[in-house]
Assembly symmetry: none
C-alpha cells in the first residue's frame, strides 16, 4: 500500500511581507525542497506580526497539516511575535528556556556583543518546545509537536533559515519516512529562450511520464524535470539524457540556473587554468559572481574594472586609436580588453565586457549613438586570440547588466570547453 | 470620527506557486498599492488549483475582509479553476456570460486566433458577477459582491493583472472613499544592530503615534515609520526628524536600506568627486553596486580586482614587504590598496577591501591563520591618507562578502561626509 504523502503548510510571518514592503525570499525555496523530499505542500499563509492575528493564522495553517513551517518573527525586537503567537495558539505558557538562552549568549559572545536584556526574548519558548541551534545567526529556532502537527519556527533571514531548514526540517522528514521522494533534476542553459526550450522538449513529458517546468532567469532558462511513483529514478534518468541530447551545447550543467559561474569554476579547475576579468558595464559583477563560488580563489586572479573609457587604455593597454576607429562598444575593443588583462595578470584565461546598460544611449564624438542593450563580450585563453560576440539585450539597467554577466560567463564557458 | 481603514485580503491561486516551482510576482505589488491607497492588507493566502481546496481558501480569505483580490487561474486550460472555485464557495451557478464571451472573442480576433471551444471557459461567470475587460490579454477578470466582501478575480500574468488592478480595484477603492492614505518614511543606516536601533527609538512610537518597524539587511538596518489618521503627515515629519537626531551619523539617508550605494553616489556628485575601487574578497562587488545606480558613470572611474595577493603588488603597487610585515588582511595593506588605486586611476576618492570570506581561514607563511570574517576596509580622498577599519563579520561566505561591501561603502560615505 502506498504511503500517504506528508501534508505540509507554510506560514510566512511579517507585516512587511503582508503590506508588500518586502518580497518574501523563503516560501518558494522551502516549498520546492519539501516537494522534492516527497511532502505535498498544500497552502501558504502570509500573516502580520500582530499577535492575535498571527495566532489565528497558525491555528488555521496547522489544521489538517502534518508539518507546519513558519518563517520570521524570531528576532529580539518588539515586532518579533512568532514565539508569542505560537504560545497563544497552542495555549502553552512561554518561559525562558535555559538551552535556548545558552545558544543566544554564545552567539552574541562570538560576535563581541553584550547579552543585553532585550536579547533574552529570543530564548522564550512555549512549554514542550525544543530550541533549534542557529549556526548562522543569533535567534534559535523552535520545534513543537502540536497535536498531530509538527511545527517548526525558523528565522526569516534566508541564510539562517536555509541552514536550519536543512538541518532540522529535512532531517525530521527523513526520520519520519513517508512517501518516497520525487526524483527531480534541473538543467541550466544559456542561448535559447523559454519557448524554444519548450519546443525542443515538447514530447518529453508524455514519453517518459515526467513533468517538465521551464523557468526563465536573467539570460538563462532552467528546466526542471520531476518523476513520481514507480520507476521514478529510471524515468527521470532517461528524460534527463533525452533533454541534454535535445538541448546540446546550450546546457551548462546540473547546477540550478542562476549559477552558471559554478560551471565555469569547475571547468577552470578541470582545465588547470586561472581567469581574469576586464569589465566595463558589468563593473566587477562578473568577477564577483565567480568569487562567490567556494574554491574560486584557486582559479580567480582578479581583474580590472574599466568603467571610464580612459581606464581601458590606462589600465588595460587598449589602443585609443582602436576605440576611435570602432567605438568603445565593439568586438575589437572587447577583444583588446581581454588581451590586455591576460597580459597584465598572467591569468590563463580572460573574459571582457563593454556595452550600454542605460538609461541613456552612449554618445561618442563623431559616431552614431550606441543604443541601450548593445553589449560586446569577449573571452579567450592566454596565447590565443579572444573570441567576441555582440548582443542586443532587453531590459532595464539592472536587467541589461545581469544578462551581460551571464552572456560573458557563457562565452567563457564555451571557449574553455572547446579544444585548446 | 475617523474612518475605519478598509480591510483587504489577497489570494494567490496556482499549484506552481504553492509547490515553489514559480515565484509569485503579484502579491507584493498589489499589497503595496492597496496600502498606499489607504487600505490595510491583513493577510495573504497562497492556494493550489484544486477546486475544493481553492474554494475553501476563498471562504477563509473573504471572512472579515471588505475586499478580496484573487490572482491567477482565469486562463482557458484545465488547471485554471478560479472561476469554478468562486462559484462553489459562494454557492452561485456558473454560466456563460454574453459580455464576457464578447470580450474573449474580440481579444482572440485581435490576435488572429480562432475562438475554439476551450476558450469559452473564460466566459463562465458565477451568477451576479460582472466581467472585467482585460486590455492586455484574453481572459476577462471577474467582480462579485459576496455578502460584505467585494471580490475581484484577476489574471496571474503580471502585465494583465497590473493594468486591471489599476483600472478596476483601485477605481473601486477610490469610489468607495474611506481612510486617507498613510504617511510613510524609511531611513537606511549602517553601524548599529537592530536592537541598538530599537533602543535609540524606544519612545518614538508612543510619543508621535507612529508605527516603527526594523528590518535588518546584510550589514544594514532599515527603519520604517508610518502614521495613519488625522495629522499623519505632521506626526510623521516630527517622528522622522526625531529618529534622525537619535541615530545621528549612522543614518545614510532616505533611500531604502540595501541601497547605501545610492547615498554614496549622491554624495560623490555633491562633492564633485570620482571614485575608484581596489577589491580583494569583494572581487568587484563594491564597484558593481556603485555602477547599479543610474548616473554612476559620472562618478565611477573603475578599479582593480586584486583577488590574488600578487595582483595587489602588480596592479596596485602594494609593497610586498608591507604584506610580509602585516599580513594581507591588515589595515596598512587596505590603505595601500586604496592609495594605489587612487594613483593609478586619477580618481578623487577610493575604497578598498581585503579579508577572509571563507569557508576556510587564510593561512600565510610564518603568520597565524586569519579567521573567516576578518575584514579590513579603507577609504580616502586623493591627496589625503586613507582611513581604515577592521571588522569581524558573521555569516557564511556570501554573507561576509555582502557585509564587507556594505562596510566599505559606509566607510567611504563617512570619509566623503567629513570636512575635506
Amino acid at each position: 500500500m502506498p504511503v500517504r504523502p506528508l501534508r505540509a503548510t507554510l506560514c510566512l510571518a511579517g507585516s512587511e511581507l503582508v503590506r508588500g514592503e518586502r518580497r518574501d525570499r523563503n516560501g518558494a525555496w522551502m516549498a520546492a525542497r519539501l516537494e522534492a523530499a516527497g511532502a505535498r505542500v498544500g497552502a501558504w499563509f502570509v500573516a502580520p506580526d500582530d499577535e492575535p492575528a498571527l495566532a489565528e493564522t497558525l491555528r488555521a495553517a496547522a489544521g489538517g497539516a502534518d508539518l507546519l513551517v513558519v518563517s520570521g518573527g524570531l528576532g529580539p525586537t518588539a515586532d518579533d511575535r512568532t514565539r508569542e503567537a505560537l504560545a497563544r495558539a497552542t495555549g502553552q505558557a512561554l518561559s525562558e528556556h535555559p538551552e535556548a538562552w545558552a545558544q543566544v549568549a554564545a552567539a552574541l559572545a562570538a560576535r563581541g556583543r553584550p547579552a543585553d536584556p532585550a536579547q533574552r526574548r529570543q530564548a522564550l519558548l512555549p512549554a514542550g518546545a525544543r530550541p533549534l541551534p542557529n549556526p548562522v545567526g543569533v535567534a534559535p529556532g523552535v520545534a513543537l509537536a502540536w497535536g498531530a502537527t509538527q511545527v517548526f519556527l525558523l528565522p526569516g533571514v534566508p541564510a539562517e533559515l536555509e541552514a536550519m531548514f536543512e538541518a532540522e526540517v529535512l532531517a525530521w522528514l527523513r526520520a519520519r519516512g513517508g512517501a518516497p521522494p520525487a526524483a527531480t533534476a534541473s538543467l541550466g542553459l544559456v542561448g535559447l529562450i523559454e519557448t524554444e526550450v519548450e519546443a525542443a522538449l515538447a514530447d518529453l513529458a508524455a514519453r517518459e511520464g515526467v513533468s517538465v517546468g521551464y523557468y526563465p532567469h536573467a539570460g538563462e532558462v532552467e528546466v526542471r524535470l520531476r518523476a513520481d511513483g514507480a520507476g521514478a529514478a529510471a524515468r527521470l534518468a532517461r528524460a534527463e539524457a533525452a533533454a541534454r541530447a535535445a538541448l546540446g551545447a546550450h546546457v551548462y550543467g546540473p547546477p540550478p540556473a542562476g549559477r552558471i559561474e559554478a560551471a565555469v569554476v569547475a571547468l577552470l579547475r578541470e582545465r588547470g587554468l586561472t581567469v581574469a576579468t576586464a569589465e566595463s558595464l558589468t563593473a566587477g559583477a562578473v568577477a564577483a559572481r565567480i568569487a562567490g563560488v567556494p574554491g574560486a580563489s584557486r582559479v580567480l586572479r582578479g581583474g580590472v574594472v574599466a568603467y571610464a573609457t580612459a581606464l581601458k587604455c590606462d589600465l588595460l593597454g587598449v589602443d585609443p586609436a582602436l576605440i576611435a576607429r570602432h567605438g568603445v562598444v565593439s568586438e575589437p575593443v572587447a577583444r583588446a580588453m581581454a588581451a590586455g588583462v591576460l597580459a597584465r595578470t598572467g591569468a590563463g584565461s580572460a573574459v571582457a565586457t563593454t556595452g550600454v546598460a542605460g538609461p541613456d544611449p552612449l554618445c561618442e564624438p563623431d559616431r552614431p549613438p550606441v543604443p541601450v542593450g548593445r553589449v560586446c563580450v569577449a573571452a579567450g585563453r592566454a596565447g590565443g586570440a579572444p573570441e567576441a560576440r555582440t548582443l542586443t539585450l532587453a531590459g532595464d539597467r539592472a536587467g541589461v547588466r545581469e544578462r551581460s554577466v551571464v552572456a560573458a560567463l557563457d562565452l567563457l564557458r564555451r571557449v574553455l570547453g572547446a579544444p585548446a
